[in-house]
């Protein structure tokens, strides 16, 4: 496994932050405080954390409709993120975008995206810009297994591989496109599609942050070194529904139980303890600190004013 104990603990902290944040969004949703739709990534935190921890300042990501974890893993301020999800003036977009349209330019985040597969062309463009500008920067495009049946995604695989652009393509394969199992709507094996574009594929356990991180580091190094894109095919599971109000009647209980055993949060905690890292008590304290951060973020966001900028202001730059 790559990195020191400290780095493993940092990744653990990041997983805990995303988990607690999403749980807080869920509770606010149930209390009727979250307008509209919101898509939680509980269970898939290891992908966001493992990948984003492999990036350097100046690198860029483009995210999905299930993107709170990507935002936080890139360093977003939890309170501004929560405020956007709640439609408040202090949110990243001043309440104009909401959960599916959170942008964070300062941290290189080209946005969560309400269009399935939308991040892939944007990430491709960010990679093209990085090459043109000679920054040495890398771009990451996140997408789900559902997006792998979008034509534009395959078009972008072709261009990324053809031009060897500094891009990492991260498929978060959680087995379901909305309420429909991936297998029911997909011919062939998704991971094998990379070979058609001469695109290296790493088919990995997306529930283990260290596995994801090691693969992401290698992919980022390849991209930065001019060797082109990699498809990280991360097999994961969302414990939360497609959206916050989804009871998931379409999933079998046995399947969910089997994946529960692979929950990335306790897994990373156990690994740290086994490796002789901080004590269980110290990790409890870390978890309590993170919970306090999330609670403060929620309180701040709930207290924030409704959007006040005029509706049509800033339509054009």
């Amino acid at each position: 496994m790559s990195g020191s104990i400290d780095a493993m603990v940092a990744r653990y902290r990041s997983i805990v932050l995303i988990r607690r944040f999403e749980e807080r969004v869920q509770s606010l949703f149930r209390a009727g405080r979250v307008p509209g739709l919101t898509h939680l990534c509980i269970g898939q935190e290891a992908v966001a954390v493992g990948v984003c921890a492999a990036l350097a300042p100046g690198d860029r990501i483009a995210s999905t409709h299930r993107g709170h974890g990507h935002c936080l893993a890139m360093g977003a301020d939890p309170e501004r993120l929560m405020a956007e999800i709640l439609g408040r003036a202090t949110g990243y977009g001043g309440g104009r975008g909401g959960s599916m349209h959170v942008f964070d330019a300062e941290n290189g985040n080209l946005g969560t995206n309400g269009i399935v597969g939308g991040a892939v062309p944007l990430g491709l463009g960010a990679a093209l810009a990085a090459r043109r500008q000679g920054t040495g920067g890398v771009a990451v495009a996140f997408f789900g297994d559902g997006a792998m049946n979008q034509g534009v995604v395959l078009e972008c695989f072709n261009m990324a591989a053809l031009w060897k652009l500094p891009l990492v393509l991260v498929c978060e394969h959680n087995g379901y496109g909305e309420f429909t199992a991936s297998d029911e709507v997909t011919a062939g094996d998704l991971a094998e599609r990379g070979a058609a574009f001469a695109l290296p594929v790493e088919d990995i356990d997306g529930m283990d942050v260290e596995t994801v991180h090691a693969a992401a580091r290698a992919a980022v190094a390849r991209a930065r070194g001019g060797e082109g894109p990699t498809l990280l095919f991360c097999r994961a599971w969302r414990f939360s529904g497609h959206h916050a109000g989804d009871a998931q009647d379409y999933k079998a209980d046995a399947e969910t139980l089997a994946w529960r055993a692979r929950d990335p949060l306790p897994r990373q905690r156990a690994r740290i303890v086994e490796a002789g890292g901080p004590s269980s008590a110290a990790l409890d304290r870390l978890e309590a600190e993170v919970a306090a951060v999330v609670e403060a973020a929620a309180r701040g966001a709930l207290a924030a004013p409704e959007p006040h900028r005029p509706l049509t202001e800033g339509l054009f730059a």
């Binding site: 977009g93 104009r96 062309p121 491709l124 463009g125 990679a127 810009a129 078009e155 972008c156 054009f316």
Partner: protein, 335 residues
């Protein structure tokens, strides 16, 4: 150099604009099908590959959605891409990237990101390119909040407006009428830049106004010449830009002439002409002596056979005849 470059074709005027802007700003790149060594299917990018190389003049696969989306991402990341869609009809393949990404990013990010992107595309009725290679969707994009839409009608404007579009910090759709590519006209030098949003009175008149766009401008001018021979002086306003729309120039013309025929190279139904007619009535109703008339492309796909295609857009004679009917008090509200 600020003076006039002299006369050149519409095609060469756009190439000159691209070359000047690429020379001036290393972030400007050109992306599209056959734009590289081939120089464009209509020779509309000729010479640029040789001058700026493969890093800046990028031949793409036939993947409109993918490369338009790539251009959006590149624009969000600091480049100023000019993306070419070979035939205007093909823009439908990349429309999601324009409507859901490019148009919305600046606004929904709270101003954190800009999308300085130009999408140039060739449209045009009159070359028997048939139903899937001749339609113009400029009105569709004018309907979308966050997109600018321009449509020059002559070489001088084409050059200045391409430069203005490239320097704009927003997504700009730049429609070019293929039938105008060989049109010759005077063009300005490096510093002649026209930002989206200004119309021009290209022929003064007192009896009625033709408010025209793209290929309808030369037709309106030809109709005005016919009318002049019969003692009717038509003013011709070249809209040049749909978004932003230069309402002031249109309204000033209506106040002078009290009659308006709107001439749109796109289909009439639910089109740009309808929007302009509505705004004229909102802003200048008291100055109107007759209902606003619309003329434009027939509400059909553009046919292939020359004998059919000729019937799609009203010619100078048909435009002049409608104007005469209008001045004589007839309604003639059907096209």
């Amino acid at each position: 150099m600020t003076g006039a470059l002299g006369e050149m074709t519409f095609r060469d005027a756009v190439i000159a604009a691209l070359a000047e802007e690429m020379e001036r700003d290393a972030d400007v790149i050109l992306i599209g099908e056959d734009v590289g060594p081939a120089g464009g299917v209509f020779h509309q990018t000729k010479g640029l590959f040789g001058r700026f190389g493969a890093e800046r003049v990028i031949d793409t696969p036939i993947s409109e959605a993918g490369f338009i989306g790539m251009a959006v991402g590149a624009a969000m990341s600091g480049l100023r891409p000019v993306t070419e869609v070979m035939f205007g009809d093909f823009i439908t393949l990349g429309t999601d990237l324009l409507v859901n990404q490019a148009a919305k990013v600046h606004w929904m990010s709270g101003g954190q990101f800009q999308v300085p992107l130009v999408v140039r595309t060739a449209v045009g009725v009159g070359a028997s390119t048939g139903p899937q290679h001749a339609q113009s969707f400029h009105s569709w994009f004018a309907h979308v909040p966050g997109l600018k839409v321009v449509f020059p009608s002559n070489p001088g404007d084409a050059k200045a407006m391409m430069k203005g579009a490239i320097r704009d910090d927003n997504p700009v759709l730049f429609f070019e009428d293929r039938m105008s590519y060989g049109m010759r006209g005077g063009v300005g030098g490096c510093d002649v830049v026209l930002a989206p949003g200004t119309a021009a009175v290209v022929r003064p008149g007192r009896d009625l106004s033709f408010v025209a766009l793209g290929q309808m401008v030369p037709r309106a001018l030809a109709a005005a010449a016919r009318l002049s021979a019969r003692g009717v002086e038509a003013e011709v306003v070249d809209l040049r830009s749909l978004v932003p729309l230069d309402e002031a120039t249109v309204v000033a013309s209506v106040r002078r002439t009290n009659r308006v025929v709107v001439l749109d190279p796109g289909c009439i139904g639910f089109g740009a002409g309808a929007e302009i007619a509505a705004r004229v009535q909102e802003l200048a109703f008291d100055w109107l002596d007759a209902p606003v008339l619309r003329m434009g492309a027939a509400q059909v796909p553009v046919p292939f056979a020359p004998a059919l295609e000729r019937q799609v857009l009203p010619d100078a004679e048909a435009i002049a005849a409608r104007a005469v009917t209008m001045i004589n008090g007839g309604k003639g509200n059907a096209s």
